[in-house]
């Protein structure tokens, strides 16, 4: 089994977005600590001296957007008209926009996370994940698995295919839930089709039980 690939936090975010609302803690615990999103650490725009504590709540507000009076921002936006570049929005405004990204095409949100660090941090935040799930009610559908005898094929539901959702010969898909697929090959293997992480469970042979 190859070593697990090194992941960006955005990709971890993609995984976590699919965590069902009824079991977030358990699934989050399955993500290795070094892969969990750590927004403050990866945030070069926030010049936080190590001595200054960054509270979780301020994380959301400590964007590179200069802090300003929201109502003043309206005036600034209102005065500038078409010939000017659009005024810079507040973090809250961007959040409202990103919330309305289509849940069924996960690549859209992924690309948005790559557009700038601030968005990456925003999309990775627990608050955004929670709101995105609540807003769209159900986690996005990645695709369908089709079993033919002992082979399984993955049919992506959107234009983009999760990188590790490949067709597997000699594997039988038993179940899929919480963004994971359970194969039998003849060990039980739990695969995350987005990150490629595998958990392999060797069961004792029936004769030895």
């Amino acid at each position: 089994m190859p070593p697990p690939p090194e992941l960006m936090e955005e990709l971890v975010e993609e995984v976590l977005l699919r965590v069902p609302p009824d079991d977030p803690a358990r699934l989050f615990a399955m993500v290795p600590a070094h892969l969990r999103p750590q927004p403050t650490v990866h945030c070069p725009t926030v010049r936080t001296e190590k001595t200054r504590p960054v509270k979780q709540i301020s994380l959301y507000h400590c964007a590179s957007v200069p802090q300003r009076n929201p109502l003043a921002a309206i005036a600034a936006g209102g005065v500038q008209r078409s010939s000017m570049p659009p005024p810079e929005l507040l973090e809250e405004n961007y959040e409202e926009i990103l919330l309305r990204f289509p849940p069924d095409d996960h690549a859209c949100l992924f690309r948005a996370a790559l557009a700038c660090k601030r968005w990456c941090r925003l999309i990775s935040s627990a608050r955004f994940r929670r709101r995105f799930r609540k807003f769209h009610r159900s986690p996005p559908l990645l695709g369908a698995i089709h079993c033919q005898r002992s082979d399984t094929r993955f049919w992506p539901a959107s234009s983009s295919r999760p990188p590790y959702a490949v067709d597997r010969a000699g594997c039988y898909a038993i179940d899929a839930r919480h963004g994971r697929i359970l194969y039998y090959d003849p060990d039980f293997v739990v695969l995350d089709p987005v990150t490629g992480q595998e958990w392999r469970l060797s069961l004792p042979h029936p004769a030895s039980m």
């Binding site: 009076n69 005036a75 209102g78 078409s82 405004n93 409202e96 990204f101 557009a115 234009s159 983009s160």
Partner: protein, 174 residues
């Protein structure tokens, strides 16, 4: 636009309130329409905005405010009916058509609107504009998103990082 009395318990002519934009333009509007703003609703419930007083909105300019009120006036009757129970399909289609045309505007106006809607707490308007901006950028590459939103060009380091991501995670760009 005359909002029909809809069993709110008000009597007589619809109550009017005055809103004053940052550039001192006065807008007289039905209280029901202005109350779509959660922020204004409190003031109006307290009896503010009537008579010659007016509610100053020192940071919303007249161009943005007139656009905001255009939305509020159109949506006030439906909101007074508590959403849609009594609304006919025709009414809903008409509102939808209005919404589609309403957001077919310059990007900087959209931005002013989303900020005003956020601060005045007009949920429907904020949702409408946010959806429009999301639709504008959802199919774009990270670089196109930056350009669309007027972000500054990435530094060479950021550019290199983006390129590396694109190579590594090509599936997101298919």
């Amino acid at each position: 636009m005359a909002a029909p009395e809809s069993g709110d318990g008000n009597n007589g002519a619809a109550r009017m309130v005055t809103l004053i934009s940052s550039d001192n333009t006065r807008f007289e509007v039905e209280a029901a329409a202005a109350s779509l703003s959660q922020t204004l609703q409190l003031t109006i419930l307290d009896g503010g905005g009537g008579g010659g007083d007016g509610i100053p909105l020192p940071n919303v300019d007249s161009a943005t405010l007139s656009k905001v009120l255009e939305y509020c006036i159109k949506h006030a009757p439906a909101a007074a009916n508590g959403g849609a129970p009594n609304a006919t399909a025709v009414d809903r289609a008409e509102l939808e058509r209005f919404d589609n045309e309403f957001v077919n505007i310059d990007q900087s106006v959209l931005y002013s609107l989303i900020m005003a809607a956020h601060n005045l707490e007009i949920e429907g308007l904020q949702s409408l504009v946010a959806k429009k901006v999301a639709d504008m950028i959802k199919g774009k590459s990270p670089m196109e998103i930056r350009r669309t939103l007027g972000f500054p060009d990435p530094t060479p380091e950021e550019q290199a990082e983006m390129n590396a991501h694109m190579l590594e995670y090509g599936w997101a760009y298919e």
